[in-house]
């Protein structure tokens, strides 16, 4: 009977977990993580459906990076530099906050899920101004 006692306890724990998680998930789904002052804030959706991008952006970018660097095909739909162009918040015209700084677009979610994206060891974090 020991095992069934444990399993019942487990199920009860799981149920409690789910009940607690659902409101949190709803809150997350309804909230927006687009940073104020960024170009993205003025748009209705991302380059694909927002939920799709939230769930799959890492795969899109990882696929894109191999195709870009190794095969030299830069025609893909998704590009990290476009993410940054759109999601970097402007403090003044032409002045941008890095997307990986405290409270900014990339950091806000990745800090929450304790993921440290290595992108910005090499990639720039603000839109590029080139003459």
């Amino acid at each position: 009977m020991r095992s069934s006692f444990f399993s019942r306890k487990c199920i009860a724990g799981l149920l409690a977990g789910i009940v607690l998680t659902i409101p949190a998930m709803q809150a997350m789904a309804e909230s927006t993580y687009v940073t104020k002052g960024s170009k993205a804030a003025s748009l209705s959706s991302c380059v694909a459906e927002t939920n799709d991008i939230r769930r799959n952006h890492m795969d899109y970018m990882k696929h894109g990076r191999d195709v870009t660097v190794r095969a030299g095909d830069r025609t893909g739909t998704f590009s990290l530099s476009e993410c940054i162009d759109c999601h970097s918040a402007a403090t003044a015209p032409g002045e941008y906050t890095p997307v990986d700084s405290e409270g900014q677009f990339c950091r806000s979610c990745h800090a929450y899920v304790a993921v440290n994206p290595a992108c910005f060891q090499c990639h720039r974090t603000t839109p590029e101004k080139r003459d």
């Binding site: 799709d52 769930r55 799959n56 795969d59 990882k62 696929h63 990076r65 191999d66 195709v67 660097v69 190794r70 095969a71 030299g72 095909d73 830069r74 025609t75 530099s81 060891q121 090499c122 990639h123 720039r124 974090t125 603000t126 590029e128 080139r130």
Partner: protein, 250 residues
């Protein structure tokens, strides 16, 4: 490219649909393998082995005291230094060669020679150092672990190591601490369909026109014509690496 995401997505449905469609197309002609179902005569996207990009440097035209190509390269790829010439990144550098007997001085530029058989690729333990289909030798920083074997293997001392944390890199040249890097033959320009490199443009602008970039596989290209009509040299030709960068009057 395999996806690491284990969640069922829209893409899986599309893949199954696509597989059924492809199966239908193949069933029309059993035994015939259709290689180009989706391609359909479109221009090849990305690097193609039909091309081999290369460069010719005319050492007679390379002018003493001029650093236009080096400056242009640094500007194009945002190669900022730390006032440490021994370790600062150098994708292209000027070299003086003096014949001690005659006193004749040759000036030339040295950079990654984009070998057909690159030693840096041979020694790379993570496959980060690689040669594209069109002959451009690159470092994939996503898999570079910074071991610097390639720097040891390169007979031309063409590669640099980034020792410092960098910020505000050029979009066209992402680069960072702990990775090896070298001349990319302005791969971002090549992929955009442009036909010149930054160093070539700068050299032309300064009136020297010592650098010619182009497709070695195209017999009509300027670089092929120059190589056909002039005696050119590969540096360390004895290593039989078949370099993509050739020198005139060396």
């Amino acid at each position: 490219m395999s996806k690491e995401n284990d969640q069922p997505t829209m893409n899986r449905r599309q893949l199954i649909g696509g597989a059924i469609a492809t199966a239908g197309a193949v069933a029309i002609a059993p035994g015939v393998i259709l290689h180009a179902v989706a391609g359909d005569g479109q221009a090849v996207k990305g690097a193609s082995s039909e091309k081999r990009w290369g460069m010719v440097v005319d050492t007679n035209k390379c002018s003493d005291g001029c650093s236009a190509c080096v400056d242009a390269c640094n500007d194009e790829h945002n190669l900022t230094g730390f006032d440490r010439p021994a370790t600062d990144a150098q994708w292209i550098r000027t070299v003086k060669l003096k014949d001690k007997q005659t006193g004749h001085i040759n000036r030339m530029v040295m950079m990654c020679q984009h070998c057909e058989f690159p030693p840096c690729v041979d020694v790379c333990p993570t496959n980060a150092s690689f040669k594209r289909a069109d002959g451009i030798v690159l470092v994939d920083r996503h898999s570079c672990i910074g071991c610097r074997y390639c720097m040891m293997a390169c007979p031309y001392k063409a590669r640099s190591f980034v020792h410092e944390v960098l910020q505000e890199q050029a979009v066209n040249a992402p680069r960072g601490k702990g990775c090896v890097e070298a001349c990319t033959l302005c791969v971002h320009r090549v992929d955009a369909g442009k036909t010149t490199t930054a160093c070539q443009d700068a050299c032309q602008k300064d009136g020297h026109a010592a650098i010619i970039f182009g497709d070695l596989n195209d017999p009509k290209s300027e670089i092929s014509q120059v190589l056909k009509t002039n005696n050119s040299t590969q540096i360390r030709a004895d290593l039989e690496l078949n370099t993509g960068v050739r020198y005139l009057n060396l």
